[in-house]
């Protein structure tokens, strides 16, 4: 696969591109397409007129109502996953110019400022393709079940407030809790591999997103009650020791979650837990 964060433009380049982008130009969207599981992939290119504020989503919408390639061939609208279009739901993640990111926040002016510039869109490679740019990320939600990513409350009836918390601790938990299960960290991780057989999900590397959730819930006063279960879920095959410390995850996280800190913190907890368990003789 292409480098997960190749071709990333820094903030200055993006700003400069936006300044010189010409309104009324057209760009080329080169899209990797696939009709369904087991079907071969192919590339199709589309010429799309853009205006200031255009993003990958508005270009894909244009193609949906004008599904004609640059060769003049009529084709089908491109299939892709999307939801909020403001980078909080995580749905529209794809690989753009070789780098994984949300397509809604990918502004054309910043990435393709000149007439005829090309943007390349590919589906994420670590998840099975459903069709075109839409992939199946069920394994990520499975991982959240695997590590019991919830606070085990005593039911929903009124039992008074939750635990008091310092603002510093709240800010720390909030930062971890912004994870939208988009999968960028997994796409970029050399240790995380595509696994279409659900039977093998529990023994293949679980990845940064779920490890971060373990830290989040182990930091909550009531959430702690399941701490041992969560750590043990990360101690076998596919657990935290599979992390190769490439640190790609933290570089591609769109929410700036301190994923490597979380991996280190959970790593320490599992070590302590292993010792404790050993001396307790369990």
């Amino acid at each position: 696969m292409s480098g997960a964060y190749a071709h990333e433009y820094n903030a200055e380049t993006r700003r400069a591109n936006r300044q010189r982008a010409k309104p009324g130009r057209s760009i080329i969207l080169k899209i990797k397409r696939c009709d369904g599981p087991g079907k071969p992939s192919r590339w199709e290119s589309f010429k799309v007129p853009v205006e200031p504020g255009s993003n990958v989503i508005s270009c894909l919408k244009y193609i949906a109502s004008h599904p004609v390639t640059t060769d003049g061939k009529r084709t089908t609208p491109v299939v892709w996953d999307s939801g909020c279009l403001e980078e909080v739901c995580g749905a529209c993640t794809m690989v753009i110019n070789g780098r994984v990111r949300q397509s809604c926040s990918c502004l054309i002016d910043e990435y393709a400022p000149d007439e005829g510039d090309t943007l390349t869109l590919e589906p994420m490679s670590k998840f099975p393709v459903i069709r075109d740019l839409w992939v199946d990320r069920e394994r990520m939600f499975h991982a959240l079940r695997r590590v019991k990513a919830w606070v085990p409350i005593d039911g929903t009836y009124n039992l008074g407030p939750g635990p008091k918390e310092s603002p510093e601790h709240q800010q720390m938990r909030y930062a971890l809790s912004e994870c939208m299960t988009c999968g960028c960290c997994l796409e970029a991780c050399p240790q995380y591999l595509q696994e279409s057989d659900p039977e093998k999900w529990d023994t293949s590397f679980i990845g940064a997103a779920a490890i971060n959730q373990v830290r989040l819930f182990n930091e909550h006063k009531t959430g702690k009650r399941l701490k041992a279960d969560r750590l043990e879920a990360l101690m076998g095959p596919g657990g935290i020791t599979d992390c190769g410390n490439a640190q790609n995850c933290v570089k591609v996280c769109p929410k700036g979650i301190p994923l490597t800190e979380s991996i280190a913190a959970v790593g320490r907890s599992t070590t302590v837990h292993a010792f404790t368990r050993f001396f307790k003789g369990r």
């Binding site: 069709r131 407030p161 800010q171």
Partner: protein
């Protein structure tokens, strides 16, 4: 008899709260959603969730005042008992979310922090940064996952609700399941259930671009409506005053920006080309603060929207001569802003490329929320004053305390049930709580309240000895609806094979024309003449839709098909919105008729109820009295300055 199941359609806050509550009571839940529930539109809610709290209480605030504010904010169109119950539950709901681990912002001492929000002079809004909806949704998603791993909730994600399955006619009509489609394999099948909860959210896509997610077509509500469910106050659509214009959608800029001190202004001099930071204070027109000295920038949304519209469209004072005004936070400490509003400031910076901590934002109103929705019933609680009460004054003794059961009879099977037995509507798709205008930070509350409080009603309905199980029902009842949907599906797929290629029949084109027309005719300012023209346009679009052509004949993961199918349902709901708006010859809350600028309680202190007429394929609109025995209607002025009393509303619409 086998165990009865409940179906919940929609996995946002309302659907998840309902699923958790129903599963907790021991009934198995089948949860349907077009997206993984963690990606539902509730993630977009930003500002917070309202509830009376100890700090506000000691300053004279109360649950009763929250109730009174909500009724007043909604311009007296909401049925009143459910709103009272919701306000009384609110503090307990915050406690529960707190226990679930929601990272609510904290004070230095570790208590939950609060912020100001529109329509109240008290700090009563709890928040988690500026992504409160996301954090609340995640907490409920986690609790749902817990029940899922225990086998009590079964999720059907990437399944689209196609139609309710009903049995019987008239008052005896009952919902006994649904037909749904797997959006990947395109398999269509029926599911049995003793009760069905619709928690399918809003319908912003009817207006083309809005603040809503791409799934908010209103299609599911429209399908229930076409099957005979009544639709309440369809004309009541909230246009949020502050959104970022965009090519693909209009991104919300939360009301919390104003709650945290954001000021709305335009240069006093038309066509002033200076940078905003170069314009001195005296040459800025803070029009909300001047026109509404009491509430200033935190007037309710409908009022702020009309004033911004007035400044731009009527006065021609928009920034750079365009339809936009400044929303300015640059006078606040950047670190404070990051802590309280980081999430939304990042959105602005990401999509506009300008840091709002140092440069005022440019914003304009956008369609945001549907107060109208499926009509629902309820059994009132035990509070029933001899006569409705006048305005409540902060600090005065409250007419009724904050205990449960004053507003609704808890667990009554008909709470938030539609006119079709066993078919419930929770959350935004329920018309019950917000009347003619929703107050900011009341939406999250109403969604979770519906799920928690009225989830119990669903359980009681299913377990009632008078409710027969659905296992013994003849399979033909279900097969008939599967056949209906399969035929609709096949017709759409075949249209791609025999396509003429004429753009007029492209579903995306039809939807875009619908959105443009609805935005022009039926948002900030409406007139009878313009609504009539829009009705004619919708009729034309419906004619064209009858010959709609897809560009994709795939029998696998056909997204165009799903969109084209929803477009037909959007057209039907649009007609109800326009017709009710045309017949409501008054101005109330979000519904402003330039040709009838005053509220008319004599004729329209009434809920509009739309019923779909299968013969004519049109909406029949009836006006019925608002169920309002608790609070007396009063003029809704928000302390507008007298100097401007001569022109209380925008003078003209361009549309």
């Amino acid at each position: 008899m086998a165990e009865q199941r409940v179906i919940v359609v929609g996995g946002g806050l309302a659907g998840l709260a309902a699923s958790v509550r129903i599963a907790e009571a021991g009934l198995p839940v089948d949860l349907f959603s077009m997206v993984p529930v963690k990606r539902s539109h509730s993630v977009c809610a930003q500002g917070g969730i309202n509830a009376c709290n100890e700090v506000a209480r000691q300053q004279g605030y109360s649950e009763y005042e929250h109730f009174d504010e909500t009724i007043y904010g909604g311009d007296f169109l909401a049925d009143q008992h459910p709103v009272l119950e919701m306000a009384n539950w609110a503090p307990n709901i915050i406690d529960l979310l707190d226990r679930m681990g929601v990272p609510f912002n904290r004070t230095a001492e570790g208590y939950r922090d609060l912020r100001l929000f529109g329509g109240s002079l008290f700090k009563r809004t709890h928040f988690a940064g500026a992504t409160t909806g996301q954090q609340l949704l995640y907490a409920l998603d986690e609790q749902t996952r817990r029940y899922e791993s225990e086998g009590k909730v079964k999720k059907y994600e990437f399944w689209e609700f196609l139609w309710p399955v009903t049995q019987g006619e008239g008052d005896e009509k009952r919902c006994v399941g649904i037909v749904a489609q797997d959006m990947r394999t395109m398999q269509i099948r029926a599911f049995r259930a003793a009760a069905v909860v619709m928690a399918t959210g809003g319908n912003g896509l009817i207006f083309g671009k809005s603040t809503n997610s791409v799934i908010c077509t209103g299609g599911a509500a429209s399908r229930c409506y076409q099957e005979g469910a009544w639709y309440g106050n369809p004309e009541m659509i909230q246009v949020h005053p502050t959104a970022i214009p965009g090519a693909d959608k209009l991104r919300l800029m939360s009301e919390s920006a104003r709650g945290e001190g954001g000021r709305v202004w335009v240069p006093r001099k038309k066509g002033d080309t200076r940078r905003p930071t170069d314009i001195p204070e005296a040459e800025r027109y803070y029009f909300l603060e001047e026109r509404y000295p009491a509430y200033g920038n935190i007037v309710p949304r409908d009022i702020a929207t009309r004033e911004i519209f007035d400044i731009c469209v009527n006065e021609g004072m928009g920034v750079d001569g365009q339809n936009q005004v400044y929303l300015d936070l640059t006078h606040r400490d950047p670190e404070y802003l990051t802590r309280k509003l980081g999430g939304i400031l990042d959105i602005y910076e990401k999509f506009v490329g300008v840091d709002p901590r140092f440069t005022p934002m440019k914003i304009f109103p956008a369609v945001h929320y549907s107060m109208g929705g499926l009509w629902t019933d309820y059994t009132p609680g035990d509070y029933m004053p001899d006569v409705p009460k006048p305005a409540h004054k902060s600090g005065a003794p409250v007419p009724v305390d904050n205990k449960m059961g004053h507003g609704l009879t808890i667990g009554a099977p008909n709470n938030m049930m539609s006119n079709i037995k066993g078919l419930y509507a929770f959350g935004e798709v329920n018309f019950a709580y917000h009347g003619a205008n929703r107050l900011g930070a009341n939406a999250l509350l109403s969604c979770i309240f519906d799920g928690l409080c009225n989830g119990v009603s669903v359980v009681n309905f299913v377990r009632d000895s008078g409710t027969p199980g659905v296992d013994g029902l003849d399979q033909s009842i279900y097969d008939r609806v599967v056949r209906q949907e399969q035929e609709k599906h096949d017709r759409l797929v075949n249209s791609a094979r025999s396509a003429t290629g004429d753009e007029a029949y492209n579903p995306y084109r039809i939807a875009k024309e619908l959105g443009d027309e609805m935005t022009a005719a039926s948002t900030v300012v409406k007139t009878g003449e313009r609504l009539e023209r829009a009705l004619a346009k919708v009729a034309e679009l419906r004619d064209r839709y009858a010959k709609v052509e897809l560009c994709d004949a795939a029998s696998w993961t056909n997204q165009s098909l799903s969109f084209a199918r929803a477009t037909g349902d959007m057209l039907i709901l649009a007609e109800a919105m326009l017709k009710a708006g045309l017949l409501r010859k008054e101005s109330r809350g979000a519904h402003y008729r330039k040709d009838f600028p005053e509220r008319d309680d004599e004729n329209f202190f009434k809920t509009s109820i739309a019923r779909f007429n299968p013969q004519t394929q049109q909406s029949d609109i009836e006006f019925v009295p608002v169920r309002a025995p608790l609070v007396l209607p009063r003029a809704r002025t928000y302390g507008k300055a007298d100097t401007k009393a001569g022109k209380p509303q925008p003078a003209a619409a361009h549309a």
